[in-house]
């Protein structure tokens, strides 16, 4: 490719929300290489002010449809943290299962519907109905399972209903848990076919070591409870999340950005895999080996592969939880009603795209006086841009403009960004055309 190029992709497709990629190279020198976030500002932190504690999760759920379970979990955990409500074992299990239902739905959607079309040269999943019908049907079946797990626990998966601060207003039945358990076992076989499919695909060969940040809890692959873990600095209390995220603004993005020990850091499946590998189930470790993924892995395109590994782990972990619930019996626990007081709390949870933080301050009547939400995609944006800046100078010598455009779009998609959330992304624009 010539030494002077401009790339401009406006409204990158097959991602959640609106973003653009802009690249400008003059005589082999990268003048500009950035990821613009053009999603409309939504002002959630301002809308939360003055609202009652019982409404916080209802409101923040609407930050994003795909991540609504995640926002509700972070919101409810923050409120519970503020009022000093401890989780019972069953409450912990129900929350974890709900989170896992969301992982199932979200990871399957990303791996099969959004990422795989690139690798088989299709513009979307729809043409694959004709050429790869078995794969599409398998993906639909897996996605439906995630959906149904969410429905069993939350009443529905998009903007769930029954999880409130202090507990759940609705319990799953034994019959439903048994049905889901059977389908989870079938899903494991379907996922093994997915591992075969994905291991046959060739991912772009690009590595850049960065700081990996996830949740951490001794003895488990942490989902809804734990501290923060940085691959550079180790464990940090979840209460000190602001020391990690250090949010700042850039003019080309309505989403805020984050940095900790370096210029940028990565959150999400690959970060969790790198930090918490030892706690994956044996079969998930085996799948990782079959897929050529070992910790520490520095190729961001492998985030998609790490998601597939996590799906296997989730099958095993959710089987364990459901078996335990069935053995002990489901208790009709009423949600704890908080004692109102002036207080503040932080909720940190791992959601499909990475670690998510909500923090609320309450007045003595239970109304929010201050709110803060820090979104995984916002934490990843600078890392994506740093990957682009690292990749482009070398790639322009070897790749055509079309190939490089696709490389960049695939890079952004690999992070599975959620732009609605981050502004609460995507087109590539090669400037100068």
């Amino acid at each position: 490719m010539s030494e002077t190029i401009t790339i401009g992709v406006n409204h990158i497709t097959r991602v959640e929300g609106h973003g653009n990629i802009k690249v400008d190279v003059q005589n082999g020198e990268v003048k500009e290489c950035k990821l613009e976030i053009v999603e409309a500002p939504r002002f959630f932190e301002a809308m939360l002010e003055g609202r009652h504690y019982s409404e916080a999760a209802i409101i923040t759920s609407r930050i994003c449809g795909i991540c609504s379970v995640g926002h509700q979990l972070a919101s409810v955990r923050a409120t519970e943290d503020a009022f000093g409500i401890e989780l019972t074992k069953q409450n912990h299990q129900l929350k974890t299962l709900l989170d896992m239902g969301q992982y199932f739905e979200s990871h399957v959607l990303h791996v099969y519907f959004l990422a795989v079309p690139d690798f088989v040269g299709a513009p979307s999943v729809f043409p694959l109905v004709a050429t790869h019908k078995d794969v599409v049907l398998s993906a639909l079946k897996l996605k439906k399972l995630g959906h149904d797990i969410g429905e069993m626990i939350g009443g529905r998966l998009v903007h769930p209903i029954s999880m409130i601060p202090g507990g759940f207003t609705h319990m799953p039945t034994v019959k439903k848990l048994e049905e889901i358990l059977n389908r989870i076992q079938d899903a494991k076989e379907e996922l093994k076919n997915g591992v075969k499919l994905v291991s046959s695909l060739t991912l772009p060969d690009f590595e850049r070591e960065t700081e990996y940040i996830s949740m951490y809890r001794d003895g488990e692959y942490a989902f809804i409870d734990g501290n923060i873990f940085s691959s550079d600095r180790g464990e940090i209390s979840y209460k000190d999340y602001r020391k990690v995220t250090n949010e700042y603004l850039v003019p080309h993005s309505t989403a805020k950005r984050a940095k900790f020990s370096r210029h940028s850091y990565m959150v999400g499946a690959l970060a969790r895999f790198n930090n918490n590998y030892k706690y994956l189930s044996d079969d998930a470790k085996q799948a990782a080996e079959d897929l050529g993924l070992k910790p520490k892995y520095y190729n961001p395109y492998m985030n998609t592969v790490a998601q597939l590994v996590e799906l296997i782990h989730i099958v095993d972990n959710s089987t364990e939880i459901i078996n335990d619930m069935l053995a002990k019996g489901i208790k009709n626990e009423k949600p704890v009603i908080p004692e109102l007081k002036e207080c503040a709390g932080v909720g940190a949870v791992e959601v499909p795209r990475g670690i998510l933080f909500h923090e609320y301050t309450y007045d003595k009547n239970g109304f929010i006086t201050k709110a803060n939400c820090i979104i995984p995609t916002a934490q990843n944006l600078q890392n994506i841009e740093d990957d682009m800046n690292d990749m482009v100078p070398d790639s322009i010598k070897k790749r055509t403009k079309e190939e490089l455009t696709l490389d960049l779009e695939m890079l952004v998609r690999a992070y599975d960004p959620c732009i609605s959330c981050s502004c609460h992304l995507l087109d590539v624009e090669f400037v100068n055309e």
Binding site: A46, G65, L140, R156, H159
Partner: protein
Amino acid sequence: MSKPKVAFFDFTSCEGCQLSILNLETELLELLDIVDIVEFREAMSEKSDTFDIAVIEGSYSRDSDLGRLKEIRETAGVVVALGACAHIGGLNALRNSQQREDLLKKVYPDHPDWYETNEKALPISAAIKVDAVVPGCPVDVKEFVHVVKNLVLGKDPGLPTYPVCVECKLNENICVYELGKTCLGPVVRAGCNAVCTSNGGVCIGCRGLIPNPNLNSQKDIMQKYGLDIQRIIDSVNLFMTENAREVQ
């Protein structure tokens, strides 16, 4: 006869309604028997210059979106508002009680001047004519399929004009007022099968008011149960900020 072309567009929203449609799974494949989906940015890279039915999710909150909305209106034979944000402003409109400048200063304190937003987040009907709606936050996907089928047949999809209470009673739920909670079921449009009250929640009004809602009767209910009318106004504010004044 060629199949009608359907295109999806999104403005200020969480994209949860489009996601709910992708969640249709097998019904989505059946829907593809009667329509062609020609644009759906969340799921596909293809784009189309022509389409018969435009399905729009999200509120109208930026002047720069007006041109695109008008283009969609000029191209489409039928425009469908998908979900509460497009239909009634939805949760986005919760910001409308605060001044634009205050919002920008609160959320982007260092650079409030970098970002574009209107004074209010409004339903898309504030910008263009809308022919049909699929209410809800998120939409009920069965209702979405019902609306599309009827539009393909050239019929008025027709939405329930009775309140959520009707469906809630059919589901044999205990009235949440008996449990001391505040619920918008008596004045909000049915069609969701009372999904919130059936899962231990209350109706939060995401589907909008029924035609000619009996607001006096709602006030009577509040008095009967000794509840503060302010709680209803707060609830109405969640999804129907523009209606809240009417209720007051």
